[in-house]
Amino acid sequence: MDLVDGFFEWFGNLGIFFWQVLRAAVTPPYEWRELIHQLDEVGSRSFPLVCAAGAAIGVILSMEARYSLTRFGAKSMFPVSLVYSVVQVMGPVITGLMVSGRVGAGIGAELASMKVTEQIDAIEASAINPYRILAAPRIMACILMLPLLTLVADASGLLMGWFAQTLVEPLSFQQFIESGFKNAKLNSFLPQTFKTTVYGLIIGLIACYEGMSTRGGAEGVGRAATKSVVLGSLFLILADVVLVKFILIVFP
């Protein structure tokens, strides 16, 4: 029963936290400098990681697709298969999970450390809204950067997927792209890319909430970092289930 109570209490508190952040984010003064700093922190610094993860996924999908399609005599479908599996399915999820691991843990630990050393209280005591200066720019940066990082992961995945294929069976890049995106509509890719804004909201919101509401010393900081990653990743995947269904209904 305590577990159920705890579950609803957590959601309730997260909802209140989200409302506070939303109110702080939409009312002036706006913290542009902090937002730009966080865009760099979340975006530029995640670039190499997302690139590498996208590349690995591209190579794996390329090998798997070639093997399966050859068995079914549909080798000509390779470019389309790779493009769709990278851009529609794996690119967004892998980017979300990578950012959740790197950025979610970082935000959770940083804010938790500030909380246990009373730095967040000091911000509040200085008549500065900590939701406005700490949470809003971080969450906004996650929301804005996730789609861009997803495009990076997609590009990296497609490039390395094509490269892996070319090592086995030469295929020009132009031919690969032309056949891969043949008959492709914007509706096939845009919703899948922009759904990652929801991932960004989940990652940023949970990490900021866990960080700013932590208690206890070093143990509390560790707990906040762990919960930020675990809960962020879990809710990201759960949200994906809903988002995929939603996109299939709205963009048939």
Binding site: T117, Q119, E124, A125, S126, I128
Partner: protein, 262 residues
């Protein structure tokens, strides 16, 4: 050589002016779980006064300060600043009240990713947006000079001692020219010489700025030096409130014990 300032003249002047309470705490109660920390505390303080809140560890002294600045919400009772009840105020409305208050945290709570100068500039950057960069830099230097830290502008908080951190924390607390200064254990963990220096600094600031100050401490010597009035807390209640002489003349066993042990 430590300098001692006499604030009694200022105090008399202010009393003549008939200054009303700037901070008034009425029957304040606060519990954490089943543990009642404050049990009906009532205190008030006028401009230019310094109230030292004494008591053993865990008697709710720091919680009282956090309630006054709105970092905690009381279970019942009220906190009035300049006659306005602040209990339950939304964070932005509370911000307007907090601009009139400075808070020195027990462990200074400096922003560890910012330099000493940036720490002091932080409230100015957010509340004096019309101030030019040069003007802000001058103000920061002036504030740090007031606390004797003008030579440490570029240092990180981790590179300076605990006493120096408290000085920087004090400069940050003074950045917005507060009317009320709340000091949480300003001399805790410091050697006697540094404690004396912090006491002198607080006295100097009181004399120059004429703020209302509430100092939470378990250091009776420090309280005697800087406070115009003392309040002793025990089990969430005010046991006695008055001047140091009032405490000395008290027949309450706990007060006698406290004076003897200190």
């Amino acid at each position: 050589m430590a300098t001692t300032y006499d604030i009694s003249t200022d105090q008399v002047d202010l009393e003549r002016q008939g200054s009303a309470s700037i901070v008034a705490v009425n029957t304040l109660r606060k519990s954490f779980g089943s543990h009642r920390v404050l049990d009906g505390i009532s205190l008030s303080i006028a401009r230019g006064e310094t109230l030292a809140v004494l008591g053993r560890s865990g008697t709710g002294k720091s919680v009282l300060l956090r309630l006054i600045i709105g970092l905690e919400t009381p279970d019942s009772g009220s906190v009035c600043i300049n006659g306005q009840d602040i209990t339950g105020l939304a964070i932005d409305k509370m911000g307007k009240i907090r601009k009139k208050m400075g808070f020195l945290f027990q462990h200074a709570a400096l922003y560890d990713s910012l330099t000493v100068a940036e720490n002091v500039a932080f409230p100015l950057t957010h509340h004096r947006r019309d101030m030019s960069r040069a003007g802000r830099d001058d103000r920061v230097k002036q504030l740090l000079a007031e606390v004797g830290m003008e030579k440490n502008l570029g240092k990180m908080p981790s590179d300076i001692s605990g006493g120096m951190q408290k000085r920087v924390g004090l400069a940050r607390a003074l950045a917005l020219d507060p009317e009320v200064l709340l000091l949480d254990e300003p001399t805790a963990g410091l050697d006697p010489i540094s404690s004396g220096e912090i006491d002198d600094l607080i006295l100097k600031l009181q004399r120059e700025r004429k703020m209302a100050s509430i100092v939470v401490t378990h250091d009776l010597h420090s309280a005697k030096t800087i406070a115009t009035r003392l309040a002793l807390l025990d089990q969430g209640k005010v046991v006695i409130e008055g001047t140091f002489e009032d405490l000395q003349q008290s027949n309450i066993a706990l007060v006698k014990d406290f004076l003897k042990q200190s």
